[in-house]
């Protein structure tokens, strides 16, 4: 982390310099300059990240954690150095960082490990993770499917009961119901730090404290926070967290599971096979300590190394400054959207609401796919659909929405271009109707 004292937003000069590192931002799409406002779905990669991966592949590529030749040693060293960088970036120890294919796999790893413990795997050490009838798993109505379905399935496998914190008509979590929902029966409380639809930031430390007060494990979906906000997992006190590389300037194919070391050390593995064992006989196997225990099979080495370069890039700019920049863009986006007739912003909006730089909207009578098509024709890339949050959309009375999401390389001009194009797109479809 840069740890810079100034949390001022990025200057125009700095922003231009950052953008120069993203070759794709100079693309023309459908005859227009690309206005990329889909960073929340997948971020673009700066050349430093691409070059780190290429440099590794061209000069040091080898199997890690096996083999004794020079390249194997260098590859292992670089792979582990990337782990240490990512750990430092989120305020964790390197031994608490497990590489996964994506955030979905990370959340499934926790759920399946708990499921395996519930079957008696992991022995007495894993007993505290066992779930069964009478136990409850709590999630929320605004979750991405990745932090919802694994828990529904875990409940179905173990006989535990799945419950959720509902949202109100504005899409705000009904935290006033938490006393009723989070009880001594609750064993797991899984929730998103930042909703990928509403962008609202949840009071994580408070929710974790309340989970711990009833003896529940707190599992954090940090996919929309790790890339956008300074994150200190130790300070937040969460038991587990998951985030994905491709949303934070890294490549696809790599995600991260954070687990407190005393948990990972006591948990049985999810995937089993090569590279995660000490002794194997025809009767069974003994497993390596974490994180290797949770990294079966060939690892995504070049992707992990590139993710290390991505967090270097983010830290160099400074997460506090990126968050300030996005807060400004987010405020500009919301203010602009509020001025456009017929636009409904999903999620709570107001002085008291902390949101990241994204906004999903519904335009009653106009389908998001149609709206997105019109914007795309002008080179404006936004996300349309349910954003893997069907229950939240259903609760808000829509099947799909149009989401614009900003990041460190987004300019105020790009936000303005989107805001300027929207009324024309709406008018186009209104005229047809």
């Amino acid at each position: 982390m840069s740890g810079t004292a100034t949390a001022g937003a990025l200057s125009a000069t700095e922003l231009a310099a950052i953008r120069a590192d993203f070759p794709i931002l100079a693309e023309r799409v459908n005859g227009h300059d690309l206005v990329y406002l889909d960073w929340g779905a997948t971020s673009q990669r700066p050349r430093q990240v691409v070059e780190a991966e290429v440099d590794y592949v061209e000069h040091r590529n080898a199997a890690v954690h096996r083999g004794a030749h020079t390249l194997a040693a260098e590859a292992t060293e670089e792979f582990e150095a990337a782990r240490a960088k990512v750990a430092a970036f989120v305020g964790a120890g390197a031994d608490e960082i497990v590489w996964t294919s994506n955030a979905t796999e990370a959340l499934n790893a926790v759920a399946y490990s708990i499921g395996n413990a519930s079957l008696g795997r992991g022995g007495p050490a894993a007993e505290r993770f066992r779930l069964g009838p009478g136990d409850e798993i709590l999630s929320t109505e605004l979750e991405h499917h990745a932090n919802l379905i694994p828990w529904q399935e875990l409940a179905a496998r173990t006989g535990a009961t799945f419950r959720y914190v509902p949202v109100d008509d504005d899409g705000r979590l009904r935290l006033d119901l938490l006393d009723e929902l989070l009880t001594e029966r609750t064993r797991v409380f899984a929730f998103a730090h930042v909703s990928n639809v509403t962008g609202e930031v949840q009071p994580v430390a408070d929710l974790v404290a309340r989970a711990h007060a009833v003896g529940a494990l707190a599992v954090l979906d940090a996919c929309q926070s790790a890339p956008h906000l300074p994150l200190d997992l130790h300070a937040l006190g969460v038991d587990f967290a998951a985030f994905s590389g491709h949303k934070m300037l890294g490549p696809t194919g790599v995600g991260v599971l954070y687990g407190r070391r005393e948990h990972l050390a006591a948990m049985p593995p999810f995937l089993t096979g090569g590279s995660m064992i000490t002794t194997v006989t025809m009767e069974g196997a003994e497993f390596l300590p974490p994180p290797q225990r949770f990294e079966a099979g060939t690892q995504r080495v070049s992707q992990a190394i590139a993710l290390g370069a991505a967090v270097d890039f983010l830290a160099r700019v400074g997460m506090d400054r990126i968050a300030s920049h996005e807060a400004e863009l987010g405020a500009r986006l919301l203010a602009g959207l509020q001025q456009i007739d017929g636009v409904r912003i999903l999620g709570p909006v107001g002085e008291d609401v902390e949101r990241t730089g994204l906004a999903a909207i519904d335009v009653p009578g106009i389908h998001a796919h149609d709206l997105g098509q019109h914007l795309d024709a002008q080179g404006i890339a936004v996300r349309v659909g349910h954003h893997c949050a069907q229950p939240l959309h259903r609760r808000l009375g829509v099947t799909a929405s149009t989401r614009a999401s900003a990041y460190l390389a987004t300019t105020p001009d790009e936000v303005d271009a989107y805001l300027a194009a929207l009324p024309g797109a709406i008018e186009f479809f209104r005229r047809l109707a």
Partner: protein
């Protein structure tokens, strides 16, 4: 504004969206299919009534974007009177055009108003929208 996007929303499409044909489910259908586009949540439910191998009636409901809803309406209007084999031929022809990225024009003689959906083939992301109702028809016919 690109002419491609304007050509996507032709008058025929708008007309089918405003006045969907054969809309509303009815009792007594022979076969039914519900299709959902998981990426956007668009859905259609199509009911077919058959007399032997001949489709005698078609009804549907649905919700979603203009492309998926107009496409279902256009097909529903054509189906009554066709044999299952004839319907299958139209579905295959339409699918070939939709998957061709604009290379294979929609056969207007065979597919009538579906010519208006030709523009969707240029947008890979919209092919699924255009195909939704046709997949419903294919699925429903497979159940007979």
């Amino acid at each position: 504004m690109s002419s491609d996007v304007e050509s996507l929303y032709q008058e025929i499409i708008v007309d089918h969206v405003k006045h969907p044909r054969h809309y509303g489910l009815q009792e007594g259908a022979t076969v039914e299919s519900h299709q959902l586009n998981p990426t956007c949540g668009d859905e259609v439910t199509l009911q077919l009534t058959l007399d032997g191998d001949t489709i005698t009636d078609a009804h549907w409901t649905g919700r979603g974007c203009m492309v998926s809803q107009s496409s279902m309406s256009i097909l529903a209007e054509q189906l009554p009177g066709l044999t299952a084999a004839e319907a299958g031929e139209r579905i295959e022809s339409f699918r070939a055009s939709m998957r061709s990225r604009g290379e294979i024009p929609v056969d207007e003689d065979l597919l009538g108003d579906a010519i208006a959906l030709e523009g969707a083939a240029k947008f890979v992301a919209r092919v699924k929208c255009a195909m939704l109702g046709w997949v419903a028809a294919e699925d429903a016919l497979a159940k007979r």
